[in-house]
């Protein structure tokens, strides 16, 4: 029997194998049914990476109180490069006070060309479901390593959903 909000949410992650989708369709429906509202939200991160260097930064979750943000995917876009770059991205749950102790999540090196439709037969976007939960004020740290010859400029988008879970503790 779970009672607290964090315990209830934590329960969704029980028994999940690394690399597998964290939320089953049934659990997604359960969350959606519990939530008063669901809406999409994007967090975008710009980077300029010098030749052979790494870039890093962080964005702050700005959803309102009692709303939770769950990251569901990411896409990267290079505006300028001098080579056919690959990018390696690491996300980390930065806030130790979070009830959701996410471990650092790392994407494989992705050819930047794969994010463009014409080179990828219409696939267009690179999506990776990470299901990382964040709360208001929490920071999402991102490290981007560009394995290109020469500098690169691009942007990374973290797509996700916001859930209003007010009242779930007593539900």
């Amino acid at each position: 029997m779970v009672n607290t909000l964090s315990e209830r949410l934590q329960a969704f992650f029980t028994g999940v194998k690394p690399g597998a989708a964290v939320l089953t369709p049934e659990k997604v429906r359960e969350i959606q049914k519990s939530a008063k509202a669901v809406r999409s939200k994007d967090y975008v991160f710009y980077f300029d990476i010098p030749d052979g260097a790494k870039g890093s930064g962080e964005v702050v979750v700005t959803t309102t109180a009692n709303w939770f943000f769950v990251m569901t995917g990411a896409a990267v876009h290079f505006e300028e490069t001098t080579d056919d770059p690959k990018i390696k991205v690491t996300y980390q749950d930065f806030n130790p006070s979070s009830p959701f102790k996410s471990t650092p999540q790392e994407l494989n090196a992705v050819p930047a060309g794969a994010v463009f439709a014409k080179e990828h037969n219409g696939a267009g976007r690179f999506e990776e479901f990470k299901n990382l939960w964040y709360v208001l004020g929490q920071r999402i740290t991102i490290s981007a390593e560009c394995m290109a010859t020469g500098p690169a400029r691009g942007s990374l988008i973290l797509t996700g959903l916001e859930f209003d879970l007010q009242g779930l503790e007593n539900g």
Partner: protein, 162 residues
Amino acid sequence: MNYEQIKNKVAELQETQGFEKTFDYTRSFIAKAGTAGAFSIPMTTEGPFYELGYNIRYTKNSTLTRGGVTTNICAVRLKVRSQADNAAQSNDYIPVQLIATPGADDAPRYGSRPFTHIYPKGDNIVIEYDNRAPEVLVTGDVYDMHDEKIDICFNGKIYPIL
């Protein structure tokens, strides 16, 4: 309503399909070179709009010249929000090349980018745009900014009964 009335109402809604209707809010605009601005798309008072996704198409009239090589780019960035709840749908401006599907103006389209948001009836979709030149990344880079035409279409459903 009693059970019979509810049953009849549901049957009527199903037969007339009056409980929801698909709807597109679309706008084409010119992002003037070197400028930023905002505009809004007014929405119907018929009922709330449940946005399911959007499509963006853009031109690439601006150029970047690096090392004598000139390439066409589109540096327009967008930020969208609901006027009613003032909830920004992103933390910052997003490059159209990142969120447009499939990401090139001359490539075949395959669908819209999923994005959900509920707008109350009579709300406005506020779109902020920025077509100013990015900061120079490599010494000697030259941006030549030009006007860009952006087509954006929000697709979703209106619920007139609410």
